[in-house]
């Protein structure tokens, strides 16, 4: 089934609960608005506080568990990416982030960002490290996380990448940007 198909099924599943949703809507709206304000106060342009927490947890679970500061910078870069990309699909990416954050609740576990590191890894391993079924679509998040994590100059240099301007000695006989 397509991603939009899954969204449609999710909407249909929620239909029987619509009276409940009507009652809960103001609370959800207030919570979303509060999360948005908190994130904006911290300089985020697209993400809200819930998404920021979820993505930081994703970085720790999917890439590197012991680098809090770098996780925060990665999330800021993901926010920058979402802000710069001129796309009608941005809302879908945000919906995927919230889906990952709340998916563990379906099996009566805490939200993804509230799980312990080992629980998160187990969840990612069991659910997201696949390309098949609904969780295959959620694994698109993996790309966003890697994009944020490896986009900084520091991350590039940490893997041994040498920027063009610093390649002087190792450029062998390649043309120089200055000479040509």
């Amino acid at each position: 089934m397509s991603l939009n198909g899954y969204l449609a099924v999710a909407a249909l599943c929620l239909l029987p609960f619509s009276p409940l949703l009507v009652v809960a809507a103001p609370c959800i709206w207030w919570q979303r608005r509060r999360a948005r304000e908190l994130a904006q106060r911290d300089g985020y342009l697209q993400l809200d506080a819930t998404m920021v927490r979820c993505l930081e947890a994703c970085v720790e679970a999917m890439v590197r568990p012991d680098e809090g500061e770098r996780a925060e910078r990665a999330v800021r870069d993901m926010d920058r990416y979402l802000h710069l990309s001129f796309s009608s699909r941005t809302w879908r990416t945000k919906a995927l982030i919230l889906a990952v954050e709340h998916a563990p609740r379906l099996s009566f576990k805490p939200a993804f960002s509230a799980m312990s590191r080992d629980e998160r890894r187990a969840f990612v391993d069991a659910r997201l490290s696949t390309t098949k079924g609904i969780y295959g679509t959620l694994s698109l998040l993996r790309q966003l996380v890697r994009l944020g994590y490896y986009s900084s100059d520091e991350a590039a240099q940490s893997v041994g990448f040498v920027p063009l301007g610093e390649r002087g000695a190792q450029r062998r006989n390649k043309p120089s940007p200055v000479l040509v």
Binding site: G5, M62, L82, V124, Q143, L147, Y150, G160, F161, P175
Partner: protein, 512 residues
Amino acid sequence: MRSRGASRAGAETSTEASYDVVVVGSGAGGAVIASELSERGLRVLVIERGPWVEPDDISHDELAMIATLYRDGGAQTNTDADMFVLQGSCVGGSTVLTNAVCFRMPEEVRLRFESYGWRLSSEDMARCSQYVETAMSVAPLDERLHNAAAQRMHAGMQKLGLEIGRFDKAFDRCIGCGYCNVGCAFGRKRDASTVWIPRALAAGCRVLPRTEALRLQHRAGHVEALLCRDLETGRHFKVSAKRYVLAAGALHTPELLLRSGLGGRNVGKRTSFNAGAIAFAEYEEELDAFDGDQMCVHYFGEGYVIEQIHNPPMSFALTMPGWFDEHHAAMQRYRKRTAAGVLVPTQAVGRVFRGLGSKLLTRWFDHPNLAFRLPEEDVAAFRRGFKMLARVFLASGAKLVIPPLATFTELRSEDELYFIDERLQEQRDLVGFGSSHPQGGACMGDDPSRDVVAPNYRVYDADCVHVVDASLFPESVRVNPMISIMAVAKHAAESIAALVEASPSSEAVTTC
């Protein structure tokens, strides 16, 4: 970049004027036809959804460039979200983001197209290809720009007795920075924005960047105007012309026809791709393959092409298989690793359509839907391709090869190649599967019951709408298609110019 495009030289926001030709899209097809028609003295307007970027706007900040220059920030997928379709969204279109690889349309492909009714003779194709190659300064890639991984692959291919292909490229004194796919920050790449658009502007063409073509307004196929939206201000406006040329790419040209209710029931059908995925190899010593041109050598196999490619760290990380510490540790060996892609010309089984969402909730679903699943025959070509690629890597001295499989796999010898047969059974078994070369969807041919566009590039059921981009191709062109599209656009310009010049001047305003 977001706020600048519309005020660039040559652009205008006034839409009072009418034109001889309005071109939607400024990529390989749109830019060439705009340039050719403008140079014949016609009044041409180009509508482009993306921003206007010049070398000064381009940096090596991969994240920002991908977000800004690629359609949907590089996150355009099929409906199953297991295939990425990368397309440029800027003045110059995807040509700004290519590796400047130039192949002529293979003669056997042209003959196949001729069997669909194309009126593009071998001589015409050679003449048009020569014309665009001269303009683009196409030349064999300077061997000094070959990166270390290319030299290794070259040795591996030689050892296996394969015929090694070297790329012809459209460069102007390239320095081999290795960042072709985010545009050239040094202005050394010859693309639509640096070759054809300046020629068009010099001849009086006008370009509207950050403007979206929404719909062709027509009465029974008589197009009266093109409805557009200024993406900076949200303002809607109309432009009118004698002729409308759609060159928005193989997903968006069919979508625009679908939105407009033109083209009949075959619009969007028979979409094909040069689709691919990337395999990785690790060597004992540090190669530093990031220093040099990204793509240097290739090999044509049975139903596939192997193209060597080495990406900067972020794109490298995005395409490399693996999870958790395994992926992180692999990235720490970036200097020892390199990559190559297997490209398969797929069968034309894809379909572009407008889903219920894009009809009812345009704010959230404002994009074409693409249904595509690799047929078994193409999956088999991928298996053959990745096995050959693994052999090349191993023959070149790689200590391990990582094919792009969902089940993480490391191959250390030819005895382990059977893993590829076992673990690659369908499209979803490929990690990072995608294409930068979508084709078809508004196929040209001489059968109105099968095709959308007549052999004179005119849409069958619209008397003044033409299509000039890769969506014309009834089958995959099998090689990187930039030169093929440009050559076809040059050919189309000749016939469209004749039609416009034959139109009485009184038709210049709103009628066809």
